[in-house]
Subunit: 293 residues, 2 copies
């Protein structure tokens, strides 16, 4: 964050029906549909990364969109992660995975550190951060933390998400005080304590929706050393100016992720997509940087 002077995460969330104009040029006629879609999505994502990288600290791959492309989608994720790294960006794998021990370990192999097998080594995606769903409890999060910690990566645990339905479960009041999401915050803080580095931030962070800023102050009280990934700015209604508590432990205490508001910026302004995306990303970057000074 300090090096790039940015807390902005470019969300890669490609909808094959809403790619940038010109992306279809990459989809050669006569090839099977999945190849054409793959090429178009790759072209779109490359253009989006190249337009905005200078104002970003990371890209976030929304795994759902790539899985919808099947095997091709996994190949694309690897290529885009490599490209982002070449541009000096971190890579966040946003898959919200969560499962019992051996399965959590397999997800971590896929997304972070690969796997040694009797047949040779399998490479993982090499993500610097990955999102994890904590519903199954601490023992389902630990394999991710262990795998990430062993290679200097980190985990971002869902604590209070940005969607309206988040209240259904995460806001339930727990007997004895607090809510479910506050209990999740406690788990995050516990798991993260052994992973606090020189900058005072832990390798176990939290996803906290920017759509409910009243939760941010409380989240920061409960998780003093966690990096917050803050979705929901832009398309979902959250505002940068509401995010100050995230930055209490330092500028890297909050990472603002935006997808549709960047990729779709041209729809409001009529400017070329790349120019509009660059401008919107820089606007977010400058606003967050000033706020967290």
């Amino acid at each position: 964050v300090a090096e790039r002077e940015s807390q902005i995460v470019l969300g890669l969330d490609p909808d094959p029906s809403d790619l940038w104009p010109g992306s279809e040029a990459a989809a050669q006629e006569g090839l099977p549909a999945v190849s054409r879609i793959g090429m178009a999505v790759l072209g779109h994502c490359h253009a989006l990364i190249d337009a905005t990288a200078e104002a970003c600290v990371a890209v976030k791959l929304q795994l759902a969109r790539f899985e919808a492309l099947g095997a091709v989608g996994w190949t694309l994720m690897g290529a885009l992660a490599d490209h982002a790294r070449e541009l000096g960006l971190l890579v966040i794998a946003d898959g919200k995975r969560g499962d019992i021990d051996v399965s959590a370990r397999a997800y971590a192999s896929a997304l972070i550190d690969g796997l040694q097998t009797p047949f040779g080594r399998l490479e993982g995606l090499g993500a610097d951060l990955l999102t994890v769903n904590p519903l199954m409890g601490a023992d389902a999060i630990e394999p991710f933390v262990t795998a990430a910690r062993s290679v200097g990566s980190g985990v971002l645990v869902l604590v209070r998400t940005s969607n309206p339905g988040a209240a259904d479960v995460q806001d339930l009041p727990v007997e004895g005080g607090g809510t479910v999401w506050e209990r999740l915050a406690t788990i995050v803080d516990d798991l993260g304590r052994p992973g606090v580095g020189e900058a005072g931030l832990s390798d176990v962070g939290a996803v906290i929706g920017a759509t409910e800023p009243r939760h941010l102050q409380r989240a920061r009280e409960l998780m003093g050393a966690a990096t917050f990934l803050l979705p929901g700015v832009g398309a979902q209604g959250g505002r940068v100016t509401d995010l100050a508590p995230a930055f209490a432990p330092g500028r890297a205490g909050g990472l603002i992720t935006a997808s549709r508001s960047i990729a779709g910026a041209h729809k409001a302004t009529g400017a070329p997509p790349a120019a509009a995306a660059r401008e919107e990303t820089e606007r977010l970057r400058a606003a967050a940087w000033a706020l967290s000074a």
Copy 2:
């Protein structure tokens, strides 16, 4: 279930370091590691399906293990799902996905019904059932239910999982009564009401760990029409004889999933893996069938 006289789900959870002897013969020398691993895993899973299919109603793909193989893993899942269908088995995609609206829809496209794009149609995995994580609330589950219902598939929502850590979050007591998992059960029942079919079972079911049978009776009270997917029998300590409440609405009210206890049956008996797996599967099938009579 009636047609196959079985409530047993074969879990496909292949660990490349623990494949059946002989699987390595499928992994041709000289090929890249990922191809060799893919071939060996495919050989192992085919042998496991062929050995046990007659006593099963479904296969369950543990997505984590296939994701660890990257793009090759997705290709393998498609091939194994096709093979299972040819043998008359249902296919369960166990990915425990959960995300906001558009992302949940993309996961559903990947795992169930595919996606129409301007470049042509993408096929999905065609799963008959898929597991979903409800932490993000009802609006994150609904896109899965809608997609599944439109093609006659169904959803299995995590309610009370089989791992020890499940208690951390799912067993939290909620102010006003009940636990988090009981609230999840209420969401499942609500979402499933419009999807109750002729057999009295809904297209929204629940994952209930077989390791805590005391929860089963309560779960059945709260979700009268839900099919329960029951993991945890065998390797995790659950017993078939504890599962009677699952079958209250009928024999298809409970699906017993077993992975390591079937694939690893030969380790205890010394019999050939296929024979040991067949025997263990038939033992489980007969026990559940008798119990649910």
